[in-house]
């Protein structure tokens, strides 16, 4: 099938100036029309030079402008490390809240904001998007998509953020559209149908802008979708390539699926990948095979589920793959951030996987260098010839139920980690929790949940433990460990000031000494954290921002 899925209307009408026609937003249309009309008539010296286009060159060289945070992870390497150093281990204890923006959304706020030239762009549940004055938190525009009533998000009506390129920001929607909004107004510039939401496709991921492409991965591993990673032309919204994460007949890897199981094989791609400009490769991780917790009926390794894919950015053709968990039966999506780092003359990727192992991979060849447990594990006690942990005979779910560690939520999950080049440590949110997995065979039915299993907290009355761990990628050793009161879904940020930031389930935003993980400062935000922190600067002042509860918070020095 070329272009778009059949049965949907495709793009909305628009013109190339970004003055789109959207009957549901008539007021803004009118305002937008005025803006457009003025735009055509005013002389060019009225346009501000400070808000330049976000070119691909700026994204590649993001380290040169640490005041801005222009991709999901802050740079293409996925390090979530800020070069700003105004806030330090010695002054962070004086940090104060600068502003709070209430989104009015309920549920889990997972967004990672972008900041470009003093404007903060972020998202909230139900496909809200907004732009704020990054100094004050005052909104400049707000957008909310009118979603159909029968969308199929698996795990909340969440969104993890935007991409920015040129004069547009890009949003993946819960009804499986990719849309471009004008960065100055929030007006829809183009709207492309990626897939049919009615059979379980959705987008929750922050897209990644590479060259003139918007790269995005689909969600829907709980509905038996056939996963894919797409690239859309940033100017037009036309799809440039699609990589199906479950290969079809005749394609390499197809033989790893039993019978027709590939058609509903899952392997979604719902967390943001990274990009290596040197080799023009995108590194994008994939999720669980479907049904998520039952291997019967899909015998084989089930490629390319739970894998890291190296794709050519221009074509979407695969250079190599590395599968973390073969033939997964525990919902252990490998959709954790693949972080690029260089050490010992080698170009590496480090990924703390949901299955409880910390992997270091050669990003030139895709070969495994090391795999080391960083949490409580019972599913594997041996490795194959390549050094990859493999399941033992006590790992498969049974009808009566079998307790396996980690549990279905994994040792970590979608929460963004950070790599701090100053300490050389990889910081990741982790939990120790075991679940009892019990099979529940069910047939595939389009648009319906397709799990094949149920899982429960293990019966032992032990609490589930949550941690911030600092791992040395050279050895896989956990060097520092901070235990939270309960497991958190917060991501982690490191900064050149020697401070690591993260949040907790009790609503605290916490600054840690990167060297010791000793808490240096905290602030109670009044709602649990499901989002990663990021840093930016405006007018020469450093801020750190994070979403918690229903709001986005920004902090800085007094």
């Amino acid at each position: 099938m070329s272009g778009r899925e059949s049965g949907n209307s495709g793009k909305k009408a628009f013109n190339r100036e970004g003055c789109e026609e959207d009957p549901q937003r008539s007021l803004r249309l009118r305002i937008g029309f005025i803006v457009c009309a003025i735009g055509f008539s005013l002389p060019s010296f009225f346009t501000t030079q400070s808000q330049a286009q976000v070119t691909f060159e700026r994204l590649v060289n993001s380290a040169k402008e640490p005041q801005n945070w222009m991709t999901y992870s802050g740079d293409y390497s996925g390090k979530r490390h800020s070069g700003l150093d105004q806030i330090t281990v010695t002054n962070v204890h004086t940090m104060v809240p600068k502003w709070v923006y209430q989104t009015a959304a309920t549920g889990k706020l997972e967004t990672s904001p972008l900041v470009v030239d003093g404007i903060l762009y972020a998202t909230a549940q139900d496909n809200r998007a907004f732009a704020l004055d990054a100094r004050t938190g005052r909104p400049i525009w707000m957008y909310q998509r009118a979603l159909p009533g029968d969308i199929r998000p698996c795990c909340g009506r969440v969104n993890r953020g935007l991409a920015i390129l040129g004069d547009k920001v890009f949003l993946g929607t819960l009804d499986a559209h990719v849309i471009a909004l004008e960065a100055k107004t929030g007006a829809v510039v183009w709207d492309t149908v990626a897939a049919d939401y009615r059979i379980g496709h959705s987008f929750t991921v922050a897209p990644l802008a590479v060259k003139n492409l918007i790269v995005i991965g689909v969600s829907g591993g709980e509905y038996g979708v056939r996963g894919f990673i797409d690239a859309y032309d940033g100017d037009t919204g036309d799809r440039r390539w699609r990589f199906y994460t479950v290969p079809g007949p005749g394609e390499p890897g197809h033989q790893t699926w039993e019978g027709d199981s590939w058609k509903v094989g899952g392997a979604p791609a719902w967390n943001t990948g990274t990009y290596d400009p040197e080799t023009n490769r995108i590194f994008w991780p994939t999720g669980n095979p479907s049904p998520s917790n039952r291997g019967e009926g899909r015998a084989g390794d089930n490629l390319f589920s739970n894998s890291l894919l190296a794709l050519n950015a221009d074509t979407g053709k695969m250079n190599w793959y590395f599968q973390f968990t073969k033939h997964d039966e525990h919902d252990w999506d490998a959709t954790q951030l693949p972080v690029m780092l260089d050490a010992g003359g080698k170009h590496l990727i480090a990924q703390a996987d949901r299955n409880g192992f910390f992997y270091v991979i050669d990003r030139t060849t895709g070969k495994l260098i090391s795999a080391t447990p960083y949490g409580k594990i019972t599913w594997s006690d041996k490795k194959d010839a390549e050094g990859r942990p493999v399941a033992n005979n006590q790992a498969s779910p049974t009808f009566e139920g079998r307790t396996i560690c980690p549990g279905a939520l994994g040792t970590t999950n979608f929460m963004a980690p950070t790599y701090d080049p100053q300490t050389g440590l990889f910081y990741v949110t982790a939990r120790d929790q075991c679940d009892t997995f019990s099979t529940a065979p069910q047939p595939y039915e389009a648009g319906h949940a397709y799990y094949g299993s149920a899982y429960f907290p293990s019966e032992e009355a032990e609490p589930y433990l949550g941690f911030l761990k600092a791992i040395d990628p050279a050895t896989g050793e956990v060097k520092q460990n901070f235990q939270h009161t309960s497991p958190t879904w917060s991501g982690v940020l490191s900064t050149a000031g020697g401070v690591v930031f993260s949040g907790d389930a009790e609503g605290n935003f916490i600054a840690f000494d990167a060297a010791s993980l000793k808490p240096l400062w905290h602030f109670q935000m009044g709602g649990a954290v499901y989002a990663p922190p990021m840093a930016f600067a405006v007018d020469g002042k450093e801020y750190v921002a994070i979403a918690a509860g229903s709001a986005v918070y920004a902090f800085g020095l007094p």
Binding site: G156, N413, A449, A454, F456, S486, E506, G507, N508
Partner: protein
């Protein structure tokens, strides 16, 4: 994926679009259908068993559904309504709002009801248990009411037990009296927080050497809110304490058979069930 937010559905309930109240036929179209009951068992394991247990006998979190007499639902149509829309003010979510997928179709709900009906047992003979004597013990010699409240009367250190008879199995209540530390009761649940606070025992020593023992009402990495045995609330900053210890040994004493006979315990359970079923 990262489905399953053990308590997160509480927040999701507020966000998910709950369809208009469903008007169902009075009769289950699948009533008595053995194949439907089997399909319902799998649906039940996926959607319901987390709280109601794999065999619908109550999982320590949700009510035993094998009792023919249910608190909220009598007819199949009642059950359909409850599964579809949840029960306000309780942990029972509306279909599709527990963070685990989009929920079930009408047919799947009827399958689950068919399965539950197939598992029902006649109410156990209550003839031997004496709820009135159980009430006397609860407020008297067994000292339950020193820490537990029923219908507004009793103590505050332990969980309020007014509803426990309707939401927990007889076996679960007996187990929590005989082995109070085996599974600590849930306390405060915050809207977006994954895990509720548990009834953990805590001991704090202040800078001036004063020891405070009690139960944690809530806690984070930097502060703790404790109720002591005299029902005084202590608000403490952890960095100002000389020491702070938590224990998963319940503050409730273990009631062995030599302290509380099986017969007396049955009477107390009968009292709690008589109150909780109302």
């Amino acid at each position: 994926m990262f489905r399953r937010w053990r308590m997160g559905w509480v927040a999701l309930m507020a966000t998910m679009l709950v369809g208009a109240a469903y008007t169902a036929d009075d009769r289950n179209p699948l009533a008595g259908d053995v194949k439907a009951a089997k399909a319902g068992e799998y649906e039940f394991r996926i959607n319901c068993a987390l709280c109601h247990g794999l065999g619908a006998r109550g999982g320590g979190r949700g009510p035993d559904l094998t009792r023919a007499q249910k608190k909220h639902a009598h007819s199949d149509a009642d059950m359909f309504q409850i599964i579809s829309n949840g029960i306000a003010g309780t942990a029972m979510p509306a279909n599709g709002t527990n963070g685990q997928g989009v929920g079930m179709t009408d047919e799947e709900i009827w399958q689950i009801i068919t399965y539950i009906r197939s598992q029902e047992v006649k109410a156990p003979a209550q003839g031997l248990a004496n709820a009135a004597h159980g009430k006397d013990l609860f407020y008297g010699d067994s000292n339950c009411s020193l820490c537990h409240m029923v219908s507004g009367k009793g103590g505050r250190l332990g969980p309020d037990l007014t509803a426990v008879g309707g939401s927990r199995t007889r076996e679960a209540i007996i187990d929590s009296v005989r082995n109070p530390s085996r599974r600590l009761a849930w306390g405060l649940t915050e809207a977006t927080k994954e895990f509720p606070q548990e009834y953990e025992s805590v001991t704090a020593v202040t800078e001036d050497g004063k020891q405070i023992k009690g139960v944690a009402l809530n806690e984070d990495s930097f502060s703790v809110q404790i109720m002591d045995a005299n029902e005084r609330i202590h608000l403490l900053d952890k960095d100002k304490l000389r020491s702070f210890h938590k224990s998963r040994e319940s503050a409730m004493p273990k009631y062995d058979a030599d302290v509380l006979s099986d017969k007396d315990l049955e009477d107390i359970v009968a009292y709690l069930i008589s109150v909780g079923a109302k």
